[in-house]
């Protein structure tokens, strides 16, 4: 699964780097290099379960405090809150308005 994710990842940016109101399409998931107490592969599975999966269109709705963390992201018809650290496992392609 990782291979598939990585090969698309080259074109995108990390979800964790996006600012408010940014819209983007998810192009891959890559949890390597993310500090987490979870087992390998677990973060990826949880992200998919919350709808953060290739092809989904997202929009950054709200940002927390301080350091604009965590972030609230609309994914199709629901809203997910996540920290930027983990959002960095989601590779997106920004949709220009």
């Amino acid at each position: 699964m990782h291979n598939h994710a990585r090969h698309k990842a080259g074109h995108g940016v990390k979800l964790g780097s996006l600012g408010k109101k940014a819209r983007a399409e998810i192009v891959g998931l890559d949890e390597t290099g993310i500090a987490t107490p979870l087992q390998a592969g677990e973060l990826e599975r949880r992200l998919i379960e919350m709808g953060l999966v290739e092809g989904a269109v997202i929009e950054v709705l709200h940002e927390g405090f301080p350091r604009r963390d965590p972030m609230a992201v609309r994914v199709s018809d629901h809203t997910v809150a996540l920290r930027r650290a983990e959002a960095n496992a989601v590779i997106v392609q920004v949709i220009e308005e």
Partner: protein, 633 residues
């Protein structure tokens, strides 16, 4: 002769994502009285109810904790997994599963349905909140959905009368089919195995295909939630609103509850007067007035305050605000190593640490969970309110500060709560830096759409609270008060005694025995007596003081209120020291018991007891010494 027991009723398990209205549906089906909330994972206990189906079958319903997957990430979700897989001890696998889905938000729910289908058991999909979906202009083709999923699909509106009729009819049909085909063997091998990322992507693609076939996007999407969140999740305004809300909550506990409390006080005085006027002086009259009315009465009087506190918590939960509070505080709480999700258990702990500690089950990581549990008793629970209120009323003058906006008693109360919170954060910080260190669990939490709390649900919740509190006052606390009255009355004073009789009683002896240990922190023997039963229930301490001082009263002073008595017999440093003690208050037996059960360990409750008692003693000692130095003994 052998008795044929009737076969056990068929069992239905309710499974669904958090916030899909599963608990509301459960209430609608069974009429059971329990909490309906909007925060991810509030249904931490297994809830069961019975209903009679339209065809006359008795059916048992189990309401399971909300989950996105059977891959159980938290102890909470493990319950759901174990029940539907039949892995739970003493628990047969349910005959059928009702998968509850929020119709306005189908994707994540349908993914769970696909996973549940692997179990190879009868499944019904209940499309809940259909009214909301229609309002948004969505069309859902239930027949198409049913054909695509290969299971029956019924629309429901849990909060409407008759809104679950179609579901009940379908349950009848499903049970009938299962009966004619014979129920599947109880521990049948099922086709479910933990899905990997590849399987999950397949599920996801399948869901997208099915949605394209049967669901149209909303033509009038619900924008209110986004607009409200623009303010409530604003980094500055949102935090300010959250703090204001909490502050208002604690002010309301005082101002709203004042009138009903005065009424209860008046009623108690009236009853005491009646008893005094109509009964001959003797042990029985003393038991009634000094033991029951002074003791139990001084606890019951706090019912209005506890209800106001729960009213706020219930409304915050039902409206969906709790998840926002977790969002707002995640980063700040992360500073001391706590998870944003710890906010909910901690806020519940202001009502009572026991449900608070149980709510910590939604925290997936064990270290994060232990840290949250360990500081839960530092959040001032409602049982400590009576102690605070009594002492504040007796020692803090009723004065307006900050230009009349805030009363001084309310401000002192807020400071006490703040002291608890602050020390909790410090303890968490130390724990997470030492024995419980490690990275935090990811947040990954859905922010549900805001919903107007249903007055009926809120009223039911408060009614349950009042009932539980009064039952406790009528049983545990009543029994303790009778025992205390006895200990405080016998043996009587010897001939030619100079002190009030209680001085010579068993309670007096215990108090005098403990006094040397507590003297350095300014506690007298009356307080020492009150602290012991206070372990069983903190609020009893107030009742004990009520009884002791009622019995100590020589009779020439006719002060009716306990507060007045205390103001006359305690020094201010002693009062402040007792307040400081109660911020940490070595918690009640019930709290220690639930910690032992939740963490399945004897070590953690022991650690908790020792560190809380140590902190309490230290805080009381410091407060007393500083107060004596500043104010004079």
């Amino acid at each position: 002769m052998t008795h044929h027991k009737p076969p056990p009723p068929p069992r239905i398990a309710l499974v669904g994502n958090p916030n899909c209205g599963k608990t509301a549906l459960f209430n609608a089906m069974t009429g059971a009285r329990q909490k309906v909330a909007n925060y991810a994972g509030v249904t931490v206990e297994r809830k069961e109810g019975l209903f009679v189906s339209p065809a006359g079958t008795r059916v048992k319903v189990i309401d399971l904790p909300g989950t996105y997957s059977l891959r159980a990430r938290s102890p909470d979700e493990e319950v759901t997994r174990d029940v539907v897989l039949g892995r739970m001890e003493d628990e047969e696998v349910p005959e059928a599963i009702v998968c509850v889905a929020d119709a306005t938000n189908l994707r994540l729910n349908l993914r769970l349905v696909l996973e549940l289908k692997k179990l190879d058991r009868p499944i019904i999909l209940a499309l809940n909140m259909m009214d909301e979906a229609e309002k948004q202009g969505m069309t859902i083709d239930a027949a198409e959905l049913s054909a695509a999923l290969g299971i029956p699909v019924v629309p429901t509106v849990a909060i409407q009368t008759g809104g679950v009729q179609a579901l009940l009819d379908q349950i009848d049909r499903t049970i009938q089919v299962a009966e004619t085909e014979g129920f599947a063997p109880v521990h049948a091998q099922c086709g479910w195995s933990e899905p990997n990322a590849h399987d999950l992507r397949d599920y996801h693609r399948e869901v997208e295909r099915i949605i394209a076939l049967s669901v149209t996007s909303p033509t009038r999407p619900h924008l209110a939630t986004h607009r409200i969140d623009t303010v409530l999740l604003h980094p500055a305004a949102g935090l300010a609103i959250l703090l204001t809300l909490l502050f208002l909550m604690f002010q309301a506990v005082f101002t709203w509850a004042r009138l009903p409390m005065e009424l209860i006080d008046g009623g108690l005085t009236l009853v005491k007067g009646l008893v005094d006027a109509n009964m001959a002086d003797g042990p029985l009259r003393s038991l009634l007035t000094d033991g029951v009315i002074a003791g139990v009465g001084s606890v019951v009087i706090f019912l209005p305050q506890i209800l106001v506190l729960f009213l706020f918590i219930q409304i915050l939960e039902d409206s969906g605000y709790m998840a926002r509070a977790a969002f707002l505080l995640d980063r700040l709480m992360g500073g001391v190593g706590l998870h944003g999700r710890a906010f909910i258990p901690l806020l519940s702990s202001f009502a009572c640490a026991v449900p608070g500690i149980m709510a910590a089950r939604t925290i997936e990581n064990r270290a994060d969970r232990i840290a949250t549990i360990m500081i839960a008793p530092l959040m001032t629970c409602s049982a400590r309110l009576p102690v605070y209120t009594l002492i504040i009323a007796a020692f803090v003058p009723q004065r307006d500060v900050l230009g009349g906006w805030v009363g001084l008693p309310g401000l002192v109360m807020f400071a006490l709560y703040a002291a608890g919170i602050l020390s909790g954060l410090i303890v968490a910080f130390v724990l997470k830096r030492t024995i419980l260190h490690g990275a935090r669990e990811p947040l990954l939490m859905q922010l549900p759409a805001y919903r107007l709390p249903r007055p009926r649900n809120v009223a039911l919740g408060l009614f349950e609270r009042a009932k539980a509190f009064l039952t406790r006052a009528g049983t545990t606390i009543f029994a303790l008060m009778v025992v205390i009255w006895f200990l405080a009355s016998y043996p009587g004073a010897p001939e030619g005694a100079t002190e009030p009789a209680i001085h010579y009683s068993i309670a007096g002896m215990i108090g005098h025995f403990l006094e040397p240990v507590l003297a350095p922190i300014g506690f007298n023997w009356q307080i020492a007596v009150a602290l012991v039963p206070g372990m069983a229930a903190r609020e009893v301490a107030v009742g004990v003081l009520g009884t002791i001082y009622a019995l100590s009263d020589s009779g020439d002073s006719l002060r009716s209120s306990l507060g007045g008595l205390l103001a006359a017999s305690w020094s201010l440093p002693t009062a402040l020291s007792l307040l400081a003690w109660y911020v940490f208050a070595p918690q009640c037996i019930a709290t220690l018991g639930v910690v032992r059960r939740e963490l399945n360990s004897l070590v953690w409750p022991a650690v908790m007891f020792v560190f809380l008692t140590g902190l309490a003693y230290l805080a009381a000692f410091t407060t007393y010494r500083v107060a004596v130095a500043v104010l004079g003994g």
